[in-house]
Amino acid sequence: MTQRVFRTICCGILGTVFVVGLFAQGFTHYPYALQFREFPNAAPSSMHLLGTDGLGRDFFARVIYGTRVSLLLAPAAALLATAIAAVLGGVAGLRGGWLETLILATADLSMSLPLLFVLIALRAFLPLDVSPVLSVVATFVTLGLLGWPSSLRLVCAASRNLRQSDHLLLARATGYSNSQMLFRQVIPHLRPIFLAQFWISIPLFILTEATLSMLGLGVMEPLPSWGNLLRGSEDFSAMSANPWRLVPLFLLVLTVICFQFVLPSSEELT
């Protein structure tokens, strides 16, 4: 009962955050990039609900537009990573043999690469004249393309168990074709794992984007994201003087907690 209530509350919070991000224009009349240079670092007021940043940009507008960037693209990257993990992990687990060894070795190799340095190197190779929107999409696609190996190992282990299970043997004996086996037996059995991996990856990608932005390599200015908004929190004394600047951090923590609560429990998975 308690868990269900928590889950409902978390879904409500996530839904609200998503809606505000998606329809940002309806919640603020300030463009996120407009600089009010006479009022840099202003405190919250009726004109600027969360004050302004160092360049005089409305901080509330930047937070809700930043929500859009982080909360729409992180699930997309998570979907991509989970899809890659599902296909490769499924094939490796169900086929076994040299193919499984090869795929697992590739996953191990990918996991041993320092993700941050790979992202920095990839960013350096991107053409310079891409728009900020395209750049942010490229960042999240890269995250999705590099974020599959840990999910893959889990999917592969589950598929291997499934391959040796009695009901798959029975289905094969009944004369199911490969596609029937895949859609009627394999995918329904692995769906909870796919879902869990998808939900786990979202906060992970939000945090990775935040880290990249902290390094100045994430979402390009003037486009806001939770990550680049959090860059101001590097300086603790500045933050303690302007605590409202911690709103993106609060939203990030709240969202990550909510994602954890809406995840299916281990009992549900089994």
Partner: protein
């Protein structure tokens, strides 16, 4: 009775003597912002090593950082020949290195030979290389040295401010020094401990030996926030170079410790890629090579806003390649940079650009858009780039900002030339324009907008080449100044670099430190290290 009293008196005296003897020697703490790469003064090419060289090295001539005038150091006097090729030093007598080795003209000769040896690859030595050939050093006596260069060296005396004299005889080699301190301990990645050189030649007006402070501990600390936190806690007494945001907060907390020495030598600038790189589209190259385009961009940038918003007012709009704090070489007749949108629009329309639906288009109909690159992690530069983006949007120019890690950025601006425009800072350590020769000569590697040109690409670059070569071959400072003033005028007209701001020289000095008077020149806060004192501690001067 008297016996007990005598014992008691002796005990009290003994206690007093023990307390005095147990006093901590005066110790000054501040930070180096990187690992010193070398303690050999002739190999210095990084800021941390340069600071160590300043604190430990004895030089023949010292540039006074406050007056910017030259003062005698190890040389009592000097004379430069009319042709600017020979300098004769009269050395001080009876001086010793920190390890007790006597100082003589042989040491100067040894230093100059080592410095100019091509195998040494000394950046300091490169400044003396004005022409092909080798230097000749003669030592007619133990206190006279004559150094003859193959070609005239402009501003020759000032260059000796960077030449710390090495001992030719000491077994300690470069660790034996003639400056106020010597390196006593070094723990890589942690600290450098300097102790007072007992053989330092300088004395104060009352005849007390200098420096006053016994020990300097230089902690190696790259993180500026941690440095500031330690300063606030009283663990550090100085911070050399505080950024504007930190300075403002420090000023609010304790105005006495925040020291603003006014406009510094360092500047921030942007430039357009004018190279013939195949990665740059032809129509963009045409814009970037047009003087009207560059001037229009320059006029559209609101430098006053950049100074006020990004640097909290601790910067001044930049005029040109020389900061106003460089008293002699700054050309004060240059026009002040103006934010003039209408003027910029007029220049662009004269060059055939037109505004269509809020977008600027060139005569061929291409939309004017380009990318500005800068190094990631530098918040001030990222803010400046974002403000320039909004300023140029008012002209209908679409500018994208891309931050790159430093090695990728350097690769693009020096090797692949795959970029449109770049925003970076210029760190000026040398007051003399000869230090900027590789920037202004069209054949120079640091001629950033179009490096290593075989022949000057434009008439104005050819004129700059001629003027820079002429000033470098003259020994008359007034004539040199006239030539370099003209260079500054051409740069202001042509805007190959769009100078943005000159940052103020900001520092922090604890109330414990007496005698600090930070200046714009490096090292801003400890340039007069030998006369600094610490409150409430045992110093050499205090003992007298």
């Amino acid at each position: 009775m008297w016996g007990y009293l005598r014992i008691a008196l002796l005990f009290i005296l003994g206690c007093t003597t023990a307390t005095r003897g147990g006093e901590e020697p005066s110790e000054l703490h501040f930070c180096l912002h990187g690992e010193p790469k070398t303690f050999n003064p002739i190999l210095v090419d990084d800021e941390a090593s340069e600071n160590i060289r300043y604190l430990t090295g004895g030089v023949l001539i010292r540039v006074n950082r406050q007056t910017q005038a030259m003062e005698p150091g190890l040389a009592e006097s000097w004379k430069v020949s009319k042709d600017g090729r020979t300098i004769t030093f009269q050395l001080r007598k009876g001086l010793y290195f920190s390890d007790g080795t006597p100082f003589s003209s042989e040491d100067v000769a040894h230093t100059m030979r080592s410095l100019m040896d091509p195998q040494t690859h000394s950046a300091t030595g490169d400044a003396f290389r004005s022409g092909p050939g080798t230097i000749e050093v003669q030592t007619p006596s133990a206190d006279v040295v004559v150094v003859r260069f193959p070609a005239p060296v402009a501003g020759l005396e000032r260059l000796f401010d960077q030449v710390a004299i090495l001992s030719s005889k000491s077994p300690k080699k470069e660790m034996s020094v003639l400056g106020p301190y010597y390196v006593s301990e070094y723990k890589a990645g942690s600290y450098v401990l300097l102790r007072r050189n007992p053989n330092y030649w300088k004395h104060d007006a009352r005849g007390n030996p200098l420096p006053y402070i016994e020990i300097i501990r230089l902690d190696i600390q790259r993180n500026r926030d941690i440095e500031l936190m330690r300063f606030r806690r009283g663990e550090l007494q100085l911070i050399n170079r505080v950024d504007a945001e930190q300075f403002e907060r420090l000023q609010k907390e304790n105005p006495a410790v925040a020291r603003n020495a006014g406009t510094g030598l360092d500047g921030e600038e942007m430039w357009f890629n004018q190279t013939s790189s195949p990665t740059l589209q032809e129509y963009k190259r045409k814009w970037f090579q047009q003087t009207e385009f560059r001037r229009a961009v320059s006029m559209a940038i609101n430098r006053v806003d950049l100074s006020r918003v990004v640097f909290d007012g601790f910067a001044t709009p930049a005029f040109g390649p020389v900061s106003p704090s460089n008293q002699f070489w700054f050309n004060s007749s240059l026009p002040a940079p103006k934010h003039d949108l209408q003027g910029a629009q007029a220049l662009l329309s004269r060059a055939g650009f037109r505004l269509e639906g809020g977008n600027l288009k060139d005569p061929a109909g291409n939309r004017v858009e380009f990318t500005l690159i800068t190094n990631s992690g530098n918040t001030a530069r990222e803010k400046m780039a974002t403000m320039i983006q909004q300023d140029l949007a008012e002209l209908g120019i679409s500018m994208k900002v891309v931050t790159l890690d430093f090695p990728s950025l350097i690769e693009r601006i020096t090797r692949t030339f795959d970029y449109d425009a770049c925003l970076l800072g210029l760190v000026n350590t040398d007051l003399d324009p000869n230090g900027q020769l590789t920037v202004w000569l069209s054949s120079g590697e640091n001629h950033q907008w179009n490096p290593n040109e075989k022949t000057p690409a434009t008439a104005w670059e050819a004129e700059i080449d001629r003027l820079m070569r002429e000033q470098a071959s003259l020994s008359n400072e007034k004539l040199r100044k006239a030539k370099f003033d003209r260079v500054q005028e051409i740069v202001a007209e042509q805007q190959p670099f769009i100078y943005l701001v000159n940052k103020n020289a900001l520092s922090a000095v604890s109330a414990e430190v007496v005698g600090a008077s930070p200046v714009a020149l490096n090292p801003q806060v400890f340039w007069n290290i030998d006369t600094l004192r610490l409150n409430n501690s045992r110093e050499v001067g205090a003992k007298q």
